[in-house]
């Protein structure tokens, strides 16, 4: 899976922790498969941002590929 949008990184703020979100390693999982992926996340609470183009693009493709396994 490709990396998420980095362009928005500096402009995203975790409202709960009031800290800037940064690109970091997170885990994505579906139907028992798990993969590491770099996404923008809150360094404190770990909330991850999944941008629209990822959700409807590569992520959807991977979901469908796994569903057809």
């Amino acid at each position: 899976m490709s990396e998420g949008q980095n362009t928005a990184e500096s402009s995203l703020l975790c409202a709960k922790c009031n800290v800037e979100m940064k690109t970091g390693k997170v885990k994505a999982s579906y139907l028992g498969s798990e993969f590491p992926i770099e996404l923008v996340r809150c360094p404190v609470c770990g909330m991850v941002y999944v941008p629209e183009d990822l959700a409807l693009g590569k992520m959807l493709q991977v979901e469908q590929a796994l569903e057809d396994k």
Binding site: L13, K25, A28, R41, V50, E67, D68
Partner: protein, 777 residues
């Protein structure tokens, strides 16, 4: 689907059966393929297709007695394709590598006595298989009776060119060597028998008693041979050609066939294999390929400018273009789904079966299985009644049972169904003021979602015309679960219906939706079901219907009512009494296609659904009249002017034909409001509705996005509520907007919003099913 059943279904599809020309041809020349190549001006390809089967293309191209032409389907629309003339053209204008096989030579020797077409073919085939072949010809020319054709029709040069193939195959040719009993010179039959491993005799049509062959003869002194094998009374001797069919006219292609079949027997004999096993496909065949010639323009054969020269290239191409290229494809012609995958059911069944059986690897046919509308139109047009709906439904059930159904495909539709089964919509009551019901009205979940006001008014009318109490049942018949292959859920849904129905005393059920009607009829044999339309037809229409003058419309029958003639007739009578003049579509009644909703196809494959809807709505310029809510909304979504028959019955002044159906959120809302409204008005009960929730401001553009992405307003509410309550949200410092997500069960919804003066302004929403964990990294 087990292997046996899959094979049975596969065999039911006749598309791969040979066309009449190939079946009629004793040696099964692929005339259809050859002609297609000529039509494409590819004479080399045409020649090589012809030569693949025919060892002497120059000769046969000129003198074949072409039984193919008698059975050509073009006869039904003009005149048969002049196949033999096209064969000749392929030889004249097409060249290329002649068929040549260089197998390792065998030591085994075969003698061929007589060099007519049967002997020549036997020699050709056996030498191609690597046998050492020697031809014994009493005269000085090879060819036997083919030398009797006039030289314009069959020039010697053509014969010589073709027979060169024998020399290439190192066949030894003994000219001027008569085979006798040994007394009069020439070759002795006995010697041949001892020095060759097998012998083929093709002595021509005449009696052979003078040859003293020591073989059993028929009463008219021809060599007696066994059917199928062409074996004579001597094990190693085979015979055929016009000797065998001497009482008929000379048939070059039959002689060629005899030589070919006898050669095959000799090969089997020499390999010690059965001479007769698996030879059902030898010779002319009956084919079950169906080719529809209805509506095909009648065309006569292209004339030859110079008869002696045969067709010119151009003439041959024109003649070839008349070929119908016989195919069945009846189902593929009427079904966008079957056409979409570029093949035909025989292949599809195989793919679906393989998809069902593989354990490792990608299930490539999943989407295909889920894209069928299950409407059964294929069966209606299929000459052998193959129904792809059975195949696809069976595969879906198997996928669900094995946990292999992609979770995303039917999730939304099933959740929608469960909403209808839940407390917001489901209801079962006797008529207000009654303690029993002679009948119960079952409007179904989609009509209630699309046209809730018409449901109320229909129920009002039914209470007037149905005697002894007509109850009301709201819910879902379970069709989405059935279509999704979820048999457990489907049967639980039916059970829930049965329970409520029994509680009402088991009254007659009046359904407005033909899907409910069919499912109840097919699955609940104890439940008397009647269609709203036949009930209204018999009991009379509401009195207050405003006549809007005569107008002309066309009717689209729902696929689930394709066999319900009573319902179809009732609808037309009702339409007529409402002032509608019906123009029938080309395909209606039992030939009606699905509107694009059936089988939940739109959830699995929007692309195919698009084709299905567009095709149907383009079949008439007139406004469509339908009697299924999903047909109405599906057509309206594409801008087709369409009315539900209840739009006419309870017509308002506004133009309902141009109205689009409600969106996903509104559909649920409509169902809930219908139930609450009826409870209030008829039974005097107030429903505790959920509070108004957070006020969302959604522009039409965003509404369209939500619709396409199947995101409900309720989903947005949940995300915003969760974000505002927990503070789990992301602030975009550039835009000032908030990004938040919430995952109720198996889908994560993301909403981009801002807080406006009068409510939450929605800027975007999307979803994904994959789970993402960023905590504790």
């Amino acid at each position: 689907m087990d292997h046996e059943k899959a094979r049975e279904k596969e065999f039911q599809c006749i598309q791969e059966q040979p066309p009449e020309c190939t079946a009629a041809c004793p040696v099964h020349v692929d005339a259809r393929g050859m002609i297609a190549a000529v039509a494409k001006n590819d004479f080399n390809a045409a020649f090589s297709i012809f030569n693949r089967t025919i060892p002497f293309p120059g000769i046969i191209g000129r003198i074949c007695d072409h039984p193919c032409e008698h059975r050509c389907k073009r006869n039904e629309a003009g005149a048969a394709i002049r196949i033999n003339a096209l064969e000749r053209a392929s030889v004249e204008y097409g060249r290329g590598a002649r068929k040549s096989l260089f197998l390792s030579r065998k030591d085994t020797k075969v003698a061929v006595i007589g060099s007519g077409l049967s002997g020549l073919t036997a020699a050709f085939d056996l030498s191609s298989k690597g046998y050492h072949v020697e031809i014994f010809e009493a005269g000085h020319l090879l060819g036997g009776r083919i030398r009797e054709f006039d030289s314009q029709r069959l020039p010697e040069q053509v014969i010589d060119d073709d027979l060169f193939a024998l020399e290439e195959r190192t066949v030894v040719i003994h000219r001027n060597v008569a085979v006798t009993n040994g007394s009069g010179g020439g070759a002795s039959c006995k010697e041949l028998l001892s020095s060759f491993d097998a012998v083929y005799i093709g002595p021509g049509p005449h009696a052979v008693d003078h040859l003293n062959l020591d073989l059993d003869l028929t009463s008219d002194n021809r060599i007696r041979t066994a059917p199928v094998s062409f074996q004579t009374s001597m094990e190693k001797v085979f015979s055929g050609g016009s000797q065998r069919y001497h009482h008929q006219e000379y048939s070059p292609i039959t002689s060629l066939l005899d030589g070919r079949l006898a050669a095959a027997s000799i090969d089997r004999y020499l390999q010690k294999a059965s001479l007769t096993a698996r030879r059902e496909q030898d010779g002319p065949l009956v084919t079950s390929l169906y080719t529809n010639t209805k509506g095909i323009e009648s065309l006569q054969a292209v004339p030859m400018t110079i008869k002696a020269q045969g067709y010119s290239r151009e003439e041959a191409r024109s003649e070839a273009r008349r070929c119908l290229n016989c195919q069945c494809l009846e189902c593929v012609k009427v079904c966008e789904y079957l056409a979409h995958y570029g093949s035909y059911p025989k292949r599809y069944v195989r793919e679906i079966y393989n998809n069902d059986s593989i354990i490792m690897g990608a299930h490539l046919a999943n989407r295909m299985v889920n894209s069928c509308s299950l409407c059964g139109l294929c069966k209606e047009v299929c000459p052998t009644d193959l129904n792809m709906a059975d195949v696809c439904l069976d595969a879906r059930q198997s996928m669900v049972a094995r946990g292999k159904m992609p979770p995303s495909v039917h999730d939304f539709a099933i959740r929608d169904m469960q909403f209808s089964m839940g407390p917001s919509f489901s209801l079962a009551r006797h008529e207000p003021g009654c303690t029993s019901s002679s009948a119960v009205f079952y409007p179904g979940c989609q009509l209630s979602a699309s046209l809730p006001r018409h449901v109320s008014r229909t129920y009002e009318h039914l209470r007037r015309v149905v005697k002894n109490g007509v109850g009301l049942m709201l819910g879902c018949c379970g069709a989405p679960a059935r279509w999704a292959g979820q048999e457990d859920l489907f049967h639980r849904t039916l059970d829930a219906f049965m329970q409520e129905w029994q509680r009402l005393g088991g009254p007659r059920v009046i359904t407005a939706c033909s899907s409910c009607y069919r499912l109840f009829k097919d699955n609940l044999p104890g439940v008397p079901v009647e269609s709203l339309w036949t009930v209204l037809d018999a009991a009379g229409l509401p009195p207050a219907v405003k006549g809007t003058g005569r107008r002309t419309m066309t009717i689209h029958d729902p696929c689930t009512a394709r066999h319900e003639n009573d319902i179809q007739r009732s609808i037309r009578r009702i339409a007529d009494s409402l002032g509608v003049e019906i123009r029938e579509l080309k395909d209606s009644y039992d030939m009606t296609p699905c509107c694009g909703y059936g089988g939940l196809m739109s959830f699995a494959n929007p692309e195919v659904t698009d084709k299905v809807v567009k095709r149907r709505i383009s079949e008439s310029e007139l406004d469509y009249l339908v009697y299924c809510a999903m047909c109405r909304d599906n057509f309206a979504k594409y801008g087709k002017r369409v009315q539900h028959i209840l739009d006419l019955l309870f017509g308002s002044s506004s133009d309902t034909a141009a109205q689009k159906g409600p969106g996903w959120s509104q559909r649920r809302e409509n169902r809930a409001m219908l139930k609450a409204g009826l409870l209030r008005e008829l039974w005097g009960e107030e429903t505790a509705m959920d509070g108004p929730g957070i006020k969302l401001i959604i522009s039409p553009e965003i509404q369209a996005i939500l619709e396409r992405r199947m995101i409900l307003e309720e989903d947005l509410q949940q995300v915003v509520r969760h974000a505002e309550k927990t503070g789990e949200k992301i602030k975009n410092l550039k835009t000032g907007r908030i990004l938040a997500r919430y995952r109720p069960v198996s889908v994560t919804y993301w909403v981009e919003y801002s807080i406006g003066d009068s409510g939450i302004v929605i800027h975007n929403a999307y979803s994904h099913r994959m789970e993402v964990f960023g905590e504790g990294q």
